[in-house]
Symmetry: C2
Subunit: 429 residues, 2 copies
């Protein structure tokens, strides 16, 4: 297909007017001011619309759409132990399939093509991803409360291995299986070290919750004499490319570890506000040269999966944290939400609009009252736009959403089945 006469955010995250972008199969094979001679078949007219790189959600628990708005207004401990965990104990694979599909629908509706995900019933999540045309970096969060266990004894390991061996690289590379550790306080050094070795042997990514809350961060120091970042680094986790979610309480040396080891910080500003975890120091991440990615976390602590909304929080929270309105430019926000996430996911051919890159594209209707006039289009995208302004989402050259229509998801059925699952679980509690 050919995108014609679009305003484009180019590979340098600069605005270019009147551009043509050609897509052949899953790949961008042309970008330029002139209309290419090649016949692309379908022509998509751009007047009044922006073509930008799609978003890569760098940390999510997609099936938690099932728990959207559940247990709101509680403190973190009560929320987890009295609401979230008991609900999750009743989840079947079927529930997770529908919850994933509904979450994917919400993401493609708002311009996102990929999520770094951590949850359970991974095979059903892969099924939803494969069918919907979405991308995933999927991991089963390793949890172990028995100190005598070895890695090979753990179901979470067996599931991770099974998923890796059966699905890693599926869908032309859309599905990647990551090795996920839930967090420092939900496992032991021995199994983490073995899991890190396993990940390194495969060359996969790792994914972990890290320094989300002050309590978690301080308890780790009391337990191990190390910050969570130092603890995981010591166990070899960061020898694999790692996405560390949250990173609210990083200390000076942690930033240095991240920079040295190439760890991505996936910041979840809305979730960190909602659970009163704190505010990640993104300014310092940039100063240290760390890859910064933007993430929604799960819908139970957000409560949506809208990366456009998340960009606004991402930029604004840094201004007030540093009491400096010049911190974080709209360009940085857009780049962190797209290229930053693609980098985190190890998708080297994704996250920018350029020749040879995967055609992961988001079209925004900029001809809306709340996006006019245009003094700075990037400012308007980050501070004025909403997820609903997305007109079209393209993943690997395939349209997943356009003009109100979901091309790969039966949205009514996904809503219906997710609600049915949620009701059944509530009745079982």
């Amino acid at each position: 297909m050919l995108f014609k006469n679009f305003t484009v955010i180019d590979e340098n995250f600069e605005i270019k007017e009147n551009m043509c972008v050609g897509v052949e199969g899953s790949t961008i094979d042309y970008i330029g001011n002139k209309e290419p001679e090649k016949n692309y078949g379908e022509i998509i007219e751009g007047r009044g619309r922006l073509l930008m790189p799609a978003f890569y959600n760098a940390h999510a628990h997609t099936p938690m759409t099932l728990l959207r708005g559940y247990g709101g207004g509680l403190n973190l401990n009560d929320w987890l132990t009295k609401k979230i965990f008991p609900f999750e104990a009743h989840l079947t694979g079927e529930d997770v399939y529908w919850g994933t599909l509904l979450g994917i629908a919400e993401m493609v509706r708002t311009g996102t093509v990929s999520a770094t995900d951590m949850y359970m019933h991974g095979e059903k999540m892969v099924e939803a991803v494969m069918e919907s045309g979405f991308k995933t970096n999927l991991g089963v969060g390793l949890v172990c409360f028995d100190r005598t266990k070895r890695l090979k004894d753990l179901d979470d390991y067996k599931n991770s291995k099974y998923l890796y061996e059966n699905y890693h690289g599926a869908g032309g590379g859309r599905v990647k299986i990551d090795m996920s550790v839930h967090g420092e306080y939900t496992s032991f050094p021995g199994v983490v070290e073995e899991f890190a070795d396993y990940s390194r042997s495969l060359g996969t990514n790792m994914h972990v919750h890290l320094s989300e809350t002050y309590k978690e961060h301080e308890e780790c120091k009391a337990r191990h004499g190390k910050t969570p970042a130092a603890y995981f680094n010591n166990l070899g986790m960061f020898d694999s490319p790692t996405t560390a979610a949250h990173c609210v309480w990083l200390e000076e040396e942690d930033f240095d570890i991240f920079a040295e080891k190439g760890v991505t910080a996936a910041t979840c500003p809305v979730s960190n506000l909602k659970l009163a975890s704190g505010i990640c120091d993104v300014k310092k991440l940039y100063e240290k040269g760390i890859n910064v990615a933007v993430a929604t976390d799960g819908t139970a602590s957000n409560n949506n999966l809208d990366m456009i909304e998340e960009m606004k929080f991402f930029a604004l929270m840094q201004k007030v944290k540093h009491m400096d309105p010049t911190v974080i430019s709209p360009r940085q926000a857009v780049e962190a939400a797209s290229l930053g996430g693609a980098r985190a996911q190890g998708r080297k051919d994704c996250g920018v609009i350029k020749k040879g890159a995967k055609a992961d594209l988001t079209v925004i209707n900029t001809n809306l009252p709340h996006l006019r006039p245009v003094h700075s289009l990037l400012d308007n995208i980050v501070y004025s736009a909403k997820g609903g302004d997305v007109d079209m989402t393209v993943c690997d050259g395939k349209i997943l959403y356009s003009g109100g229509e979901y091309y790969t998801i039966d949205i009514e059925k996904a809503v219906y089945e997710t609600e049915k699952s949620a009701r059944r679980i509530l009745s079982e509690l």
Copy 2:
């Protein structure tokens, strides 16, 4: 008209299912489970939709749509002196008319029916409000940099008086003229005191920027030996019902003054983040029994006029400020954005859905993927919904927006003319 089979947020801000709400002229004359016998003519079916009180934006500079995204990323002083003030110096009445109309369009699109406004060319703003069916509490921000001047010498006073005498109460009460003082640092005690006397003699509201930035707050103390709240109270401002915008740096005694004098705190969370002003202590406002209202401020520091987005920031910022996820319930957020603003505007018959109240109503399509499932509808409205989910906005019983259509505004013309004005001004700079 009759709203039939709607889920409703009732006068206690609780969810009621399967309700009918009847509107006769500008007023709600029926609310109940049963369908009324009276023939209302037009019937609006509610299945899958929520009927809630409309929003009252408690502090705005609506015509600043003209400056949306202009001068982003600068510090406050450079932003104001190098960008905003020079641009505003070129504004004509015609520019302000179109900018106001575009801002009103954005507000009715997102469920808002009224704004407490402070700007210039007030007569043109009234014109836009009258035509569009919107409501306003409008003031010309009094500014005086000449200590020798008396109130009667000031154009801002003369304009305020003119507006009051010609338009206060117009449109069946939709237009209210407030007496607005820009702020402590842009005028002198003498004229403020005279203006406060004038307001009290008329029985009008007052409106002021107060303790927005640390610098403003501290400089006031250095200049007058009083906080801005104590300073204005001392000059008699709070003897009129007053809306104080921002209130980021209030001190203990300021909260007590607000409580004693019935001052409304109009908090602007997004603007306070964007300009790195700080975070208002809304929890303490509630503890002191102060009326809390939610506001967007102008689009140059937001950059939109979406009260649904603002509610989310409103609730979330308090959780992180107090490091407590239980602070601010969704119900408090909805009430502050509707009834809180109506109270601030002195609209005693507005802000709730009950018999005898003005029919200021917002319909939200809750049958959208990102609003399902429903564990708590109020949680979904505050944390998951977006301005674009508004299906219909009704002000004084009149539909202003419904299903993509603006009933009173030529939206293409408003966009076109606002852009033309913005371009002309840029060319003059």
